[in-house]
Amino acid sequence: MMRDILSNPKADCMRFIAQVGSTASFARECVLGMFRLPHDTGELFRQVDELGARSLPVVGTTGLVTGLILAIQSRPVLARFGAESYVPAMVSISVVRELGPILTALMVAGRVGSGMSAELGSMRVTEQIDAIEVSGIDSFRFLVVTRVLACGLLLPLLTGIVNVLAILGAYIAAAADMHMSWQLYFHRAVYSLWLRDVIPAILKTIVFGFIIGVIGCHQGYTATGGTSGVGRASTSAVVIASLLLLFTDMILGKVIVLVCN
């Protein structure tokens, strides 16, 4: 297996470079397309509904459980240093600055990115995208730009919901283990947050949304090789988007620290 992967490293490198170039060119077309008005509002609303309403249960559950676990795990550790009362602040800062945005993005990449890729890939191999093109309609603007826009618009909103539910989840644990009142918990969780914690994190989620949209659409829109090609595109969309999200998060995290602190 390993021998197969490394059998032709030069060709693999060339393929990788071609893939990066193709994705970058696709992303550039998406950005240009976003500024070309008007957009197909019907398709945009359909995508907003698909991305927002249908992702809510999965990302909401992720937020609630993450907050709950974070509080349960961190309380004994903080208690060793006599800092148990910092549980609400620790949860709210870590969730708002880091965990909320990246967990939401990873969940959306898994659910929506793969779905978009499979849908567009299936449309490509059954000539539905060609059918849009021959009817004189720009399939890229209709299918891709609307999806990427929907991702960029909705990820900050979904992240906000995840943040609130994670803080709520942590409160449930704090109330059960530490018998902390809601008023005290809320005061410590919210008043420990600064605008410099909130604003850069929100801006970061717009970039995450764009990445999920571009990778999901690129893999599907350029899918070849019939139904197996659609399956490959769908898997690749999740893998590439997840790795790119983690890598981008690392870079943006460093930039935010340099700029805001």
Partner: protein
């Protein structure tokens, strides 16, 4: 008067030549059927004419406008004068039959809802599927899908119609029905048409003239009757087995 002129068209995929210098002219209001075996490059030729594939070299002129190398926005303008029936119909499977037919009208032409509904119902009556208006593509048979694909292509009232294997995958009875339907719609709308097929029965019904594609070049062009007297081994073999 020639509406479509193809000159020395060459196309290859990964270095494998498919079209090796195709020359073809189609007069206004006529139907040309391009015959050939599977893999001869018929669909490649049709997709090149509507700009879905870019040829390596050569020229394709539609009503005097060169479409090879044309800017995409100009290409969309040319495509709005054309209709295309896909081999597998290529219906939008997330939309109902009504949604499929309204798709281009809603996004291209500023029609009001009443006018749009009237045109959808009229087209469905023409193809004999008025009852299927609220069905999803997954609920349709192969023949019904072809008919809906035809209605979708014709609803924008194209001047040029391209048919990619209109009867492939259908039983002989349904294939005959589709061929008759195409022929009757051709007469009603007086369109310029190109159909690619290897189905001689379909060609006999719809063709004004035929062109035979073999090994990437047109080896015969003329009317169907003259084809039987051509001294070309491939044409003879094709006719003998068709």
């Amino acid at each position: 008067m020639q509406l479509i002129e193809i000159r020395n068209l060459c196309t290859s995929f990964d270095g494998m030549p498919v079209l090796r210098g195709v020359n073809l002219t189609v007069g206004k209001g006529t139907t040309v059927v391009i015959l050939g075996t599977s893999g001869a490059g018929k669909s490649v030729l049709l997709k090149s004419i509507i700009g879905l594939l870019t040829p390596d070299s050569g020229s394709i002129s539609i009503d005097g406008k060169e479409i090879v190398g044309m800017e995409s926005q100009d290409l969309y303008t040319v495509r709005r004068r054309m209709g295309y029936l896909f081999q597998g119909a290529a219906l939008y499977d997330s939309m109902s039959v009504r949604g499929n037919l309204e798709f281009a009208l809603r996004r291209r032409d500023a029609l009001d809802e009443d006018e749009m509904s009237r045109r959808v119902e009229e087209q469905l009556r023409l193809v004999g599927l008025a009852d299927a208006i609220d069905k999803m593509p997954s609920q349709l048979s192969g023949g019904m899908r072809k008919r809906i694909g035809l209605a979708r292509a014709l609803i924008t009232q194209p001047e040029v119609m391209l048919y990619d294997e209109p009867t492939t995958g259908l039983d002989p009875v349904t294939g005959r029905e589709i061929s008759d339907l195409i022929q009757s719609l051709q007469q009603q709308h007086a369109m310029t048409s190109i159909a690619v097929t290897h189905d001689m029965a379909c060609a006999r019904i719809i063709a004004d003239s035929v062109a035979m594609l073999n090994k990437g070049v047109i080896c015969f062009e003329g009317d169907l009757g003259a084809m039987e007297y051509v001294n070309d081994e491939f044409v003879k073999q094709f006719l003998a087995t068709a």
